[in-house]
């Protein structure tokens, strides 16, 4: 009997080693800026770097914009599909999964071709409009996660009957959407939002090719030119990702039932 339990444990331990050893090694390396002594100098350098602050702030703002645009696009769509066009659901699901199949580089080259400065809609013409294009691009990237999360959230409530109840009380669709649908899929929206944030913060391809001062290109720049700071940045990025995961867990708990939302 004892022997039968050994196998799984070995697998767990091997898995842990596989993930933890590089992490610990990176962390250890990031502390070795000074010769014979561990220090957090690399972290101080990174956090004190104005480029770090600017690019991180930029990416955070872009992430928020992405979340707002994405939620405003996805929630009404998923709601409408579930309410009136259930037959279209597989089609919509397929479309939302496309960004996982089509590489980001292909999407961004497509954008550059369609929206270049000599096109009918020259979005790449100015920094402000390029930012808009970047947000739209990120909405596309976040679509698979956001749509799934919201769609699952909508399935846990009786969308159709709640809508009819509200309609019979005289409500029109904007009120139904904002006072009934949004609050009831709040947990799902928050979950999708943190995932979106994690994706946008680390994204490189779009930001680099559209030449925006985002965090991804900054990471790449530091990685190519410094010794210890990239390790410190990796650890910081890792911490941010885990913080997002933790926040999903915290906010993902439904205040009304105490039950964690289904992913």
């Amino acid at each position: 009997m004892k022997r039968a339990r050994l196998g799984p444990w070995i697998a767990v331990i091997l898995g842990a080693i596989y993930f933890l050893v590089p992490l610990i090694a990176t962390f250890e390396f990031s502390l070795r800026v000074r010769r014979n002594q561990y220090s957090f100098d690399a972290y101080a350098n990174v956090l004190g770097d104005p480029h770090f602050q600017a690019s991180f702030l930029y990416s955070t703002l872009i992430a928020f914009a992405t979340i707002v645009v994405g939620v405003m696009l996805v929630v009404p769509t998923a709601y409408w599909v579930q309410l009136r066009l259930p037959k279209l659901r597989p089609v919509i699901e397929f479309i939302t999964l496309l960004p996982l199949v089509v590489p980001a580089i292909v999407i961004v080259f497509g954008y550059l071709r369609i929206y270049n400065s000599s096109s009918w809609l020259p979005l790449t013409g100015s920094p402000a409009s390029t930012n808009v294009l970047l947000v739209f691009g990120y909405v596309t990237l976040a679509l698979p996660y956001l749509y799934r999360s919201v769609d699952t959230g909508l399935r846990t409530i009786d969308v159709r009957t709640l809508t009819e109840a509200a309609e019979s009380l005289g409500a029109r669709w904007p009120r139904i959407l904002f006072t009934i649908i949004f609050p009831n899929v709040r947990v799902a929206i928050i979950g999708g939002a943190f995932l979106t944030f994690a994706i946008v913060i680390g994204e490189f391809t779009f930001a680099a090719l559209l030449d925006r001062p985002a965090f991804g290109p900054y990471l790449q720049l530091v990685g190519a030119n410094r010794a210890y700071e990239p390790a410190a940045l990796s650890i910081i990025a890792f911490a941010i990702t885990w913080a997002c995961m933790g926040l999903i867990q915290i906010f993902g708990r439904d205040r009304r039932t105490g039950v964690a939302a289904r992913p």
Binding site: D158, E164, E167, S168
Partner: protein, 353 residues
């Protein structure tokens, strides 16, 4: 005065005719039940009144106005659902206030009205609870309060009690009826429970396979079923196979024994077979001198407490009858020969439709 008119309503999904020619005039303040078995089109008809479905043919008029093409949120119709459908993100008070807010009432007005409503449904202390913190019965009361808070012209209820257990069902049914009477609100109540329909309604519409079988007061529906379907669906009814002897005098035979009906059987030829309905409570054991008499054998006795249900075989007809328990004498035994007495007035011919 006629308030709600359903005029020749039909609903067709693809090739499936779900509702066939539904004609009904409802008085202001009347309580109407749609009664029928599953899938007969009750919900579909109700949803057409609410505006969630558009009739394929026909018109709906409320207070003289044609509302057939009006959107649900324009119809001033209160709706109560089987699944309660309370908004999960709102408290009881917020749920009840929803329609008032939509109507643009002032906060003070809303507060007063919500208070009144919660008094009315006897749950004034639960204003700050969320739906998941309440029992099904309480949730359905709140749903009712929410539906009537805006003073709708018509109240529609679709099997509001069928998710609740038996005791609550009976008490809530009385509460709904009392409330409806107090407010004088025109109501359509969908149910497949005949007891509910009989005890609550001013009039009942019995439906089967998308057709209206009969419209009438509970008394009429129960005592004078117009069709065989109504007869078998409402109440416990004995159906007798008879042969016509003299139509104009109402003379017939059942299993060779001569009896008669009170009404003349005009238009039925001599010797034709006929189906007759007879309520269990109209039959007595022991023959009476003036009325009808049938001889049979007791085939089964069920002691139900206050009531004893006895089954008697008369040829190939099996009759069921109810007698009250008599502490002084035990019920008859199986196999005993009995005489059954009943008056000709209680015997009704039913059409086979």
């Amino acid at each position: 005065m006629t308030f709600l008119v359903l005029d020749g309503l039909q609903k067709i999904y693809g090739t499936h005719q779900v509702v066939q020619r539904f004609d009904l005039s409802v008085e202001r303040g009347e309580f109407i039940s749609f009664l029928g078995s599953s899938g007969c089109g009750k919900t579909t008809t109700l949803r057409m009144v609410a505006g969630f479905e558009t009739p394929t043919v026909g018109t709906i008029r409320v207070d003289g106005r044609d509302v057939t093409q009006l959107a649900p949120n324009q119809r001033k119709v209160g709706m109560v659902f089987q699944s309660y459908a309370l908004f999960p993100n709102m408290t009881v008070a917020q749920n009840v206030a929803f329609g008032l807010k939509v109507a643009g009432k002032s906060p003070a007005e809303i507060k007063t009205r919500v208070g009144e409503m919660l008094e009315l449904i006897k749950l004034p202390k639960l204003a700050d609870r969320y739906p998941y913190q309440m029992s099904g019965g309480q949730q359905q009361r709140v749903a009712l309060a929410r539906a009537i808070a805006t003073k709708p012209q018509i109240l529609l209820l679709d099997e509001p009690l069928s998710a609740l257990d038996a005791k609550i069902r009976v008490s809530l049914r009385d509460d709904i009826r009392t409330l409806q009477r107090e407010l004088g609100i025109t109501t359509i109540y969908v149910t497949h429970d005949q007891e509910e329909a009989l005890s609550m309604s001013d009039r009942i519409v019995v439906m089967s396979e998308g057709r209206m079988e009969q419209v009438g007061t509970p008394f009429e529906i129960y005592n004078r079923p117009a069709t065989r379907f109504v007869a078998s669906f409402v109440g416990h009814l004995n159906l007798l196979k008879a042969t016509v002897v003299a139509p104009s005098e109402g003379r017939i035979t059942v299993n060779g024994q001569a009896i008669r009906t009170a009404a003349a059987l005009n238009g039925v030829p001599v010797g034709a077979p006929l189906t007759l309905a007879l309520r269990p409570e109209a039959i007595r054991i022991g023959a009476s001198e003036t009325g009808n008499r049938l001889d049979g054998t007791i085939s089964d006795v069920a002691f139900l407490g206050a009531i004893v249900r006895i089954r008697v075989q008369v040829g190939d007809n099996r009759l069921s009858l109810d007698t009250f328990n008599n502490p002084g004498s035990p019920p008859p035994a199986r196999g005993e020969a009995v005489h059954l007495g009943f008056s000709p007035e209680d015997l009704h011919s039913v059409s086979d439709a």
